[in-house]
Subunit: 120 residues, 2 copies
Amino acid sequence: MNGILLFGHGARNPEYIEPFRRIRAAVERLQPGVPVETGFLELTRPPLEAAIEALARRGVTHVKVVPIFFAPGRHVLKDLPELLGSAMDRFPGIEFEVAECVGEVDGVIEAMAAHAVAGA
Amino acid sequence: MNGILLFGHGARNPEYIEPFRRIRAAVERLQPGVPVETGFLELTRPPLEAAIEALARRGVTHVKVVPIFFAPGRHVLKDLPELLGSAMDRFPGIEFEVAECVGEVDGVIEAMAAHAVAGA
């Protein structure tokens, strides 16, 4: 079974999680029944490892990791592969796939531009 | 004249600027002739102040600042108002307006969710 993991940086303020909750809800609306979890590098809970564990418990065997980042930097290019390497050791029955960062995607770029000009 | 300022955090890697270039190009396509600049808090050039200066040189009297952040945290709620406060002292003829963070906007949330389920 396929699952989706929304991977974010994390932040000190509790409101930070709100857009992640909304993306998750939108994904669940688009694909009812597909397990979706959010996982963070630091500060915000749950950490990525716990999100993967939650997907494993739900019977997921293929995880599409979606970096909720504007551009691939150290966190996506170095920290994420390290975390996924450990997860592969721990969950040998799960395959991982890393999608493009949301900020690299045409539709997201267009939506941000539309927001920038809204009401102008 | 209205202008748009895309405000980002900044990062060490030079590729970080790419999505900002693309949002700027999309905004210029949507509103040809409206001055658009990108400005950053740290690491990536130009700094916010320099971007405001560039808009002032282009005759802009109203700047819509669009935070390219997923959620409002310290950088948007504290650092940005401080920077804009200094800019208001320096450019008394310019009005500033701060838009919602892109990650709070329905269309952007939907586009990120669509990316998360693409090909799944």
